[in-house]
């Protein structure tokens, strides 16, 4: 039983509206989210993240497809019968109830014993460090404190899965960093599966066990932050997660040829003659005299820990290299200088066009 995925989404589709004006918010999403994992849905605005979360919570019904939670098909259950709780982006705290009453609400609705409710609520208040404010109402709390109440309220009934829709987007940067750590701690302490929505790739990379990258109602890639960052499935993922250089190339035996004619030794299993895109992270671009690609430095930008060197190939293709600064802080490059570029074979990701 324990190796059942916490959530199984089978080919979920969601249309808003009908006929000509219909919006295809989800276009066939299949996904398993494992027990106890911190799973992040990442994607640009309007790609269907919220829709997928609302489908899991039960606020929307899928146009097609099924949703299983802990092995049970819940597709036809209303939200109040699903063992999941949500932390809403707006928090949606009950304004007429104290912090304590807010946190107790779910347990009361489940008909738990008074003693058990009181005990759990106290534990939750301590967990989110709100002991001094238990009697206040939400309007008497700061944004970060309201956020904690929302978390405690959703965690109190001990759901199988906690859904979080951009819970940190309303907070300022410092508080946001604090709450990121706090969320990780809470997830670790409770062992509850977290499904977290964000469009901030850095947040996704630092917090998640696994990330699902979405675009236009589809799931493009699912994997650990390392897999997603180092082996993006396509150009969109590579571009969306961190900075990336894209170089068009034609495959030959044991090498690829760039558009300006430069020959880069690179083994591949693709048929010679096919066109590919090479994706290389700026920090993997090496400036070395024996590099196969000739380029001209256009601009050198110092940024503390490293220096960004923007260069152009002979056909005008842009390429950026991120160079770690030596103790002197000077990488010794000047605009207009001719350089040679290369990269380690395993630092290049070959994407189909």
């Amino acid at each position: 039983m324990d190796d059942q995925p916490a959530i199984r989404i089978a080919d979920a589709r969601k249309l808003y509206g009908s006929g000509e004006a219909a919006v295809r918010a989800l276009d066939g999403v299949s996904l398993d989210i494992l027990n106890g994992e911190f799973f992040t849905l990442l994607g640009p605005s309007g790609c269907g993240k919220t829709t997928l979360l609302r489908l899991i919570a039960g606020f929307e019904t899928p146009t097609e497809g099924r949703i299983h939670i802990a092995g049970a098909d819940v597709s036809d259950d209303p939200p109040n019968r699903r063992p999941v709780n949500t932390v809403f982006q707006s928090y949606a705290l009950f304004p007429h109830m104290s912090v304590r009453r807010n946190i107790a609400f779910g347990l009361e609705m489940l008909g738990r014993q008074r003693g058990e409710i009181a005990e759990t609520v106290e534990r939750m208040i301590a967990l989110v460090q709100l002991s001094d404010m238990a009697e206040r109402t939400p309007t008497q709390l700061s944004g970060g404190q309201q956020q904690r109440v929302a978390l405690a309220r959703a965690l109190a009934p001990k759901p199988k899965v906690l859904l979080l829709d951009e819970p940190l987007s309303a907070l300022d940067l410092k508080l946001r960093k604090e709450m990121q750590l706090e969320l990780k701690r809470l997830q670790h302490e409770t062992g509850i599966t977290f499904v977290f929505v964000t469009h901030d790739q850095e947040e996704a990379l630092t917090m998640s066990d696994r990330i699902g990258v979405m675009r236009g109602g589809r799931l493009l890639q699912v994997g650990s932050p390392r897999e997603i960052y180092n082996h993006p499935a396509d150009r969109f993922v590579a571009d969306f997660i961190g900075e990336t250089n894209f170089l068009s190339a034609r495959v030959e035996a044991e090498a690829v040829v760039l558009q300006n004619g430069a020959r880069v030794p690179l083994a591949s299993t693709r048929t010679p003659g096919s066109m590919v895109t090479l994706a290389v992270r700026p920090e993997q671009v090496q400036l070395r005299p024996d590099g196969p690609i000739a380029a001209t430095v256009r601009q050198v930008v110092y940024s503390g820990t490293d220096t960004h060197c923007y260069a152009a190939l002979s056909d005008g293709t842009q390429i950026v290299a991120r160079l770690q600064n030596p103790p002197s802080g000077e990488v010794g490059l000047q605009a207009g200088e001719a350089i040679r570029i290369g990269f380690a074979e395993d630092a290049v990701q070959m994407l189909d066009d």
């Binding site: 939200p79 109040n80 999941v84 609400f105 959703a154």
Partner: protein, 299 residues
């Protein structure tokens, strides 16, 4: 330093003088007259005789037999008070039960449609009360719209007697005062954050629990305001019970009118008016208590 500025307190007193005068002559004055009349003897045909007595107050609660002078409780008066209270409470409840879904419906329409719905709700309000009451009469009388419809549909074979019953008064008052309930309810629901409903369902609440634990407490100021706005005029209602209730189903308003007319007992009418006023004041006090407690809790 120049001359000291006039104290703000004195200035504001001066500015509020017209309002104060209006209050004294428009509200306090007449009230004082009513208070004085309640302690005088009735004149023979009408008016009062300037002779102090508490007879009017005694007559509110007791009857003295004309022949042997024995005293008994004024059951008829108590019946009228009780009926008035009962009908006013029922009117308030009826308008609430009908008004809440109406207000909810309007508040959940797109912004550009709301004005139309609110306008429709208030149209009857611009119409003369007598005309509206006669319209209701036309609906519920024995050969009226409702009975003919039910007979034609075969639900009943003989017309139901609604007109000239307490039910008729209730229907009439609920119809007349419904806008006074819907408008404050709408104002409260309009400010309600509908995302709280999803939060409620998410935390395992049923529809009923969401209504009782989340919606009603939050829109309570609107409920209280609407209830007061309906209850107060219902208690003093005069035209509607007179026309729809016939002679039998008198309410306090009609009974007071009787004292100043055929009854020729102005002091009794004055005493009854003061009691009506007291009931209204108590209702308002409860309103203030409930709303201020709500405010302090919201901080």
């Amino acid at each position: 330093m120049a001359a000291p500025p006039r104290s703000p307190a004195r200035t504001s007193w001066l500015l509020s003088t017209p309002a104060l005068l209006l209050l004294i002559f428009g509200a306090a004055g007449p009230l004082l007259i009513v208070l004085v009349y309640a302690f005088l003897e009735p004149g023979e045909y009408s008016g009062v005789v300037w002779q102090f007595t508490t007879e009017a107050w005694f007559r509110v609660f007791f009857e003295r037999d004309i022949f042997d002078g024995t005293v008994s409780p004024a059951d008829a008066h108590l019946t009228i008070f009780w009926r008035s209270l009962e009908l006013s409470v029922l009117t308030t409840l009826t308008t609430f039960v009908i008004g809440l879904p109406m207000a909810w419906f309007i508040a959940t329409r797109p912004a550009n449609q709301r004005a139309i719905w609110l306008f429709l709700i208030t149209i009857p309000f611009w119409t003369n009360l007598l005309i509206r009451t006669f319209a209701i009469m036309e609906v519920i009388r024995n050969q009226g719209i409702l009975n003919s419809l039910l007979i034609r549909l075969g639900v009943i074979s003989d017309p139901i007697q609604i007109l000239y019953t307490e039910t008729a008064v209730l229907i009439g008052m609920a119809y007349v005062y419904l806008p006074l309930m819907v408008l404050p309810l709408f104002a409260a629901i309009d400010r309600f954050d509908f995302r709280l409903l999803e939060a409620g369902y998410d935390l395992y609440a049923s529809r009923w629990q969401v209504l009782r634990r989340i919606v009603l407490p939050i829109v309570r100021p609107g409920i209280v305001a609407g209830s007061i706005l309906v209850f107060v005029p219902s208690l003093g209602a005069y035209v509607t019970p007179r026309i729809l209730g016939g002679g039998k189903n008198m309410m306090i308003g009609n009974f007071i009118e009787l004292q100043f007319g055929q009854g020729r007992n102005w002091p009794l009418g004055a005493a009854l008016s003061l009691i009506l006023l007291a009931i209204v004041l108590i209702a308002l006090l409860i309103y203030v208590r409930v709303t201020t407690r709500e405010d302090s809790r919201h901080g």
